[in-house]
């Protein structure tokens, strides 16, 4: 059976139903899979908000703490602690954070980096 013969079995309304089904798929993806996208970062130092920034462009923020400077790197859609004077480097080794609610905490230097977003699934995410 050729392709044309198969297409012959599809009636006009069937095309509409299939397109509506695809529309439901797209809507479901947009509604359910975009929720975790972050829209900003909050940097805290010593318990106080040091900076609130958006995630639209590349930049580097240097935060002073008791041990020295923590360097935070921001890129569109993600952020990380690039360098920290703490001894165990947990927050640096977390790597790039890209979900709303994700947190990297550099406890020795009292600096934290939090991604914010409206659709955040969690209050805080840590790994």
């Amino acid at each position: 059976m050729t392709l044309g013969a198969w297409l012959h079995l599809i009636r006009p309304g069937d095309v509409l139903v299939a397109l509506a089904g695809l529309g439901v798929c797209v809507q479901a993806v947009l509604l359910l899979w975009q929720g975790g996208a972050p829209d900003g970062v909050v940097v805290r130092a010593g318990g106080k908000v040091f900076a609130e920034l958006d995630l639209s462009r590349r930049r580097i923020v240097e935060v002073p703490g008791p041990l020295g400077l923590t360097r935070i790197e921001i890129e569109p859609g993600r952020a990380r602690v690039a360098a920290d004077p703490g001894p165990r480097q947990y927050c640096v080794r977390q790597g790039w954070l890209s979900r709303a609610g994700a947190v990297a905490i550099c406890a020795p230097n009292q600096v934290s980096l939090t991604l914010t977003g409206r659709g955040a699934d969690y209050d805080a995410l840590n790994y």
Partner: protein, 181 residues
């Protein structure tokens, strides 16, 4: 051997239902052998039989065939009364309700492909609701909705096309009478 005092006389309709249900059960069992990456995403080949019965013999017989398939198929696969059974049953009931409405759409415009896609969506919809209310009481189950609805479109389309083609062939070779599917 004593003769039974009760005599059941199967009608032609009963034979037809049994034959179609048997075909649907074979497809269910065969499909269970196909490894699938995600639980819940299945082609649902047995629904081809339901669609054919619906188009040729009406909704009532389609209900019989679909429900017999769910019960007998789960018995054969050892799934009877297991969570998977209730998921198939709820999916089957929801898709039968939708099919009962969809057959009233104008035939000129909406064929088996439409019926198939609509029934597939009813199927996953009911399964997600049952899973959310009973099996996984957390909104996390809806996270896979895009995957399930994509599967509903693809498998709904394929099953609908196969059903439409079989119906077309049955129509040309209609001399075979009730020997369908």
């Amino acid at each position: 051997m004593t003769r039974s005092t009760i005599e059941l006389v199967p009608t032609a309709e009963d034979h037809r239902i049994a034959r179609h249900a048997a075909a649907a059960i074979v497809l269910t069992v065969a499909e269970a052998a196909i490894p699938l990456p995600l639980p819940g995403v299945k082609p649902g080949l047995a629904n081809i039989v339901t669609l054919i019965v619906l188009a040729r013999w009406g909704w009532r017989e389609a209900v019989w065939v679909a429900l017999l398939r769910v019960f007998a198929g789960s018995l054969l696969l050892g799934q009877f009364l297991a969570p998977g059974f209730f998921l198939s049953l709820s999916g089957a009931i929801a898709s039968l309700v939708v099919l009962g409405l969809a057959v009233h759409l104008p035939r000129r415009w909406f064929g088996p492909v439409s019926h198939s896609i609509l029934a597939a969506f009813a199927h996953i919809g009911a399964q997600l609701v049952v899973a959310r209310l009973w099996l996984v009481p957390h909104d996390g189950v809806f996270y896979l909705t895009p995957v399930f609805s994509a599967a509903a479109v693809v498998f709904g389309l394929v099953n609908g096309l196969v059903a439409a083609r079989l119906l077309a062939e049955l129509r040309t070779a209609t001399a075979g009478g009730a020997h369908g599917a």
